[in-house]
């Protein structure tokens, strides 16, 4: 049976200054198997795959690949062994063609050492065909969808005759249809005897796709089971070290008057005739698949996108079109989906990030009262249990969950009337998720109108009082919590 073993990791450890990222971890991956690697943020998943990718060097332990002990010094070593890691941030060159990207590391050459474009095109076409992807080798990368780009990375792996493909959160930016396609491709890869290490947060995917599941927590191996011999509850328990009965403690709060009303809103890009009424003290869930127009709606309400029709009122007063400073002044806050690009100023400190929109309140005649600023931000750091060594810590060094809490603290401090949260728990581990949900509940209890935009059904159903479904820039369904079912919501979402 040892013949099927593709990769064996024995007692691998890795330490960073002050943190034991991995401690004595074992892992065995077999050929033609999909092996899930799960764990909360900071559990050591990334460290492990970066060791396999040759980005980090291990401190101790052994890696045995196809029966031989190997040392991976660099990404090139990893690649030449036949290990291909598809990271979340895809490593493609946007202004090159599909074929050029697929053969980037080793272009096929003619006798005179010139690039053999014909062979390259032909081979790329073959590989694309084998995974059922209908794009041309001559297409430019930047014109492709995220899903197609991901497939190009997989095609690249195949061009190298990779034996092990590691996928890091591959579905985080995909639509359900694209996910299904990805799964079909993965199943094809299995038949080619390729081993797959599938790193994810989403347990549904693990149980749908994978053959084995390994759980890491705090850098240690907790469990490794065949999928048939375990279940979701057990895996969650292993991940968090405790069992979470109710992920979403939404305590009931009374509904107040209408605070935000959106009337017949349309934008050039996406939105068509959107009308909403959001009440104080209410968690207003907006569901939609990728491309449904959720983020566009949020941006249009907040004044980041120009609108072509309709109006937005807060407490009966109309918002100035396209002015974010007016929106914030009126008590509207927006927590963007993309924390790093649109949420945080990474080089700034925790305190500076928290007080960014409310800095006026800490200053007189434009001069900041820094002691007061420190005191108030400290209150929120305590209240939200943000883990940081200091208020002066640059926010880039915080974990994803804590970064998200910094963003929430920012808007909590601002004393808002309406807050829009776009995918508030994306890329956040299970424990921090529950805390974010607790905060959402608190916000609503404090009388805010909270709009939660999400593509995760359990989150939507758990957290919202009122649900609106979007599809293609329109509102296609509206439900009270009591009447909403997964089926009815999904039906509206694909309408």
């Amino acid at each position: 049976m040892e013949d099927d073993v593709l990769l064996k990791i024995k007692g691998v450890s890795k330490e960073f200054p002050g943190v034991k990222a991995l401690y004595n971890v074992d892992l065995t991956i077999k050929k033609g198997m999909v092996h899930a690697l799960v764990g909360e943020n900071g559990a050591g998943k990334s460290t492990l795959i970066k060791i396999l990718a040759g980005v980090y060097k291990r401190d101790a332990g052994e890696i045995i690949f196809e029966g031989h002990p190997v040392i991976i010094h660099s990404p090139a070593d990893s690649l030449s062994l036949g290990i291909k890691v598809v990271f979340q941030e895809l490593a493609l060159i946007p202004h090159m063609t599909v074929a050029e990207n697929v053969f980037l590391e080793s272009f096929p050459l003619k006798k005179n050492k010139a690039i053999d474009w014909e062979t390259m095109s032909k081979k790329t076409a073959e590989i694309l065909l084998s995974i059922g992807l209908s794009i041309s080798p001559k297409d430019m990368i930047y014109k492709l969808t995220v899903s197609q780009q991901q497939m190009v990375e997989i095609a690249r792996a195949l061009s190298h005759e990779a034996k092990l493909i590691v996928m890091d959160e591959p579905t985080s930016a995909l639509t359900p249809k694209e996910i299904k396609f990805l799964f079909d491709v993965i199943r094809k890869l299995k038949t080619l005897d390729i081993g797959i290490l599938y790193v994810t947060h989403k347990l549904e995917e693990v149980f749908e796709l994978c053959d084995k599941v390994t759980v890491l927590r705090d850098g240690k191996l907790i469990s490794s089971n065949n999928i048939k011999e375990t279940n979701t509850d057990e895996v969650v328990k292993d991940m968090v070290g405790r069992s979470i009965k109710t992920l979403f403690p939404r305590t009931h709060a009374g509904k107040g008057k209408v605070v935000l009303s959106v009337e017949n809103l349309s934008t050039e890009k996406k939105l068509k005739d959107v009308t909403l009424k959001v009440h104080a003290g209410e968690v207003f869930g907006i569901f939609g698949l990728l491309g449904a127009g959720r983020t566009e709606l949020a941006k249009a309400i907040f004044g980041l996108d120009t609108i072509t029709g309709g109006k937005i009122l807060i407490d009966g007063q109309e918002l100035k079109v396209g002015s974010t400073s007016h929106s914030t002044k009126m008590g509207l806050g927006f927590l963007t989906e993309d924390r790093k690009e649109e949420g945080l100023v990474l080089q700034m400190s925790v305190a500076q990030n928290i007080t960014l929109p409310s800095i006026r309140e800490f200053s007189s005649f434009g001069v900041i009262k820094r002691k007061l600023e420190a005191k108030r931000s400290n209150e929120f750091v305590q209240k939200l249990r943000i883990k940081t060594p200091s208020l002066r810590q640059k926010v880039m060094f915080l974990s994803g969950g804590n970064q998200q809490k910094v963003l929430l603290a920012r808007w909590l401090m601002k004393k808002l009337k309406v807050i829009i949260l776009d995918e508030p728990t994306r890329g956040i581990d299970v424990g921090a998720k529950a805390e974010i949900h607790r905060l959402i509940d608190e916000l609503a209890k404090a009388g805010l109108a909270v709009i939660v935009m999400t593509s995760e059904m359990p989150e939507l159903l758990g957290v919202s009082d009122h649900i609106v479904v979007m599809s293609n820039g329109r509102i296609t369904g509206e439900f009270e919590k009591s009447s909403a079912t997964q089926e009815s919501i999904l039906a509206a979402a694909i309408a």
Partner: protein
């Protein structure tokens, strides 16, 4: 449970060693010591006074330039601007005999150029490097056209005009350096303790976030362009005073001298990072290197090579240090 986190009170040692400019400060001291030992003319009252006078020009411009860099934009037209604003200064001063009137005209012209740069970048969304590269040629060409490559000499007899660039308090402290320190301290305070300073950092650190925070990104950048041009014009007045004329060659290469110094001082070309204290130390280091090499009678061309090498080395060391962290 209260978790313990540091707020404002940090012990004095960590405060000194923790400052990001600490490494730079050490380099400054080492270089200073080196020249003091190597040349008997270097560490003299007269030479220190000279250095202070020499660095006040680039430093005043570096303050505005750093603020613009931190906001995420750049202006390489400041050298040409120096030559241009000296024209109204000298012409008006010669005609009216009033330094203040001339200086006002010079600053006004400088601010106007800043407004044009700012509008082109924030309204038309042209890349600031391209915009100001265009301005760099346009302004220099204008000076050639107007002066026909003949310097306009000062015959106003204004004493203030002479003193502002050449005079010294108690025969030691140049008036220009007093102006420099006032401007430096004022803007260090603004950048550190005012909402405007905080906004400059936010806009340069991540313009999208700043927008979501309700900050008017274009307005902030626009103001930084005006600040940069105006301060560059102020240093142009000092230069004109030192030269005693408006010279068509004035300020050539000045923009790169300032870029090099502030980058050395830790201000990032990509925006959002850096301090004016760092920029000051950067200008100071380059100032004493150039002065010190002169005192050691190093051949001028070698001075250029050595200065350039030191800049590359310093930035490389800084980069390595960052990677180590």
């Amino acid at each position: 449970m209260e978790q313990k986190i540091e707020t404002n009170r940090i012990n004095i040692f960590r405060r000194i060693f923790g400052v990001s400019e600490f490494g730079l400060l050490v380099s400054l001291v080492v270089i200073f010591a080196f020249f003091s030992i190597s040349s008997k003319y270097f560490f003299t009252v007269r030479n220190i006074s000279n250095i202070l006078g020499q660095i006040s020009l680039p430093l005043i411009a570096a303050v505005g330039f750093s603020i613009l860099l931190i906001s995420g934009e750049v202006d390489i037209s400041i050298g040409s601007l120096q030559a241009v604003v000296a024209l109204p200064l000298l012409v008006i001063m010669n005609a009216s005999g009033s330094f203040l009137l001339g200086a006002f005209a010079a600053l006004l012209l400088g601010a106007t150029v800043g407004i044009i740069n700012g509008l082109l970048v924030t309204k038309l969304k042209i890349n600031s490097l391209i915009t100001t590269l265009g301005m760099y040629y346009t302004l220099r060409g204008t000076v050639y056209l107007i002066t026909k490559k003949v310097a306009i000499a000062d015959d106003s007899g204004s004493e203030i005009f002479f003193l502002i660039g050449n005079g010294k308090l108690y025969h030691f402290l140049p008036y220009s350096s007093i102006l420099m320190f006032i401007i430096l301290l004022l803007f260090i305070y603004i950048m550190k303790s005012t909402t405007y300073g905080r906004r400059i950092y936010a806009v340069g650190g991540n313009a999208e976030v700043a927008r979501v925070m309700g900050i008017n990104v274009e307005k902030i950048k626009f103001s930084a362009f005006i600040l940069c041009s105006t301060l560059a014009s102020l240093s142009a007045i000092l230069l004109a005073s030192r030269l005693g004329s408006a010279n068509h060659l004035a300020g050539q290469g000045f923009e790169f001298q300032v870029v090099a110094a502030v980058i050395l001082g830790g201000v990032s070309l990509s925006g959002g990072i850096g301090t004016l204290l760092g920029a000051f130390i950067g200008v100071f280091i380059i100032g004493i290197i150039q002065n010190g090499l002169g005192m050691m009678n190093v051949y001028t061309m070698w001075q250029l090579v050595i200065t350039g090498s030191i800049i590359i080395m310093a930035v490389a060391i800084d980069e390595l240090k960052k990677r180590h962290e």
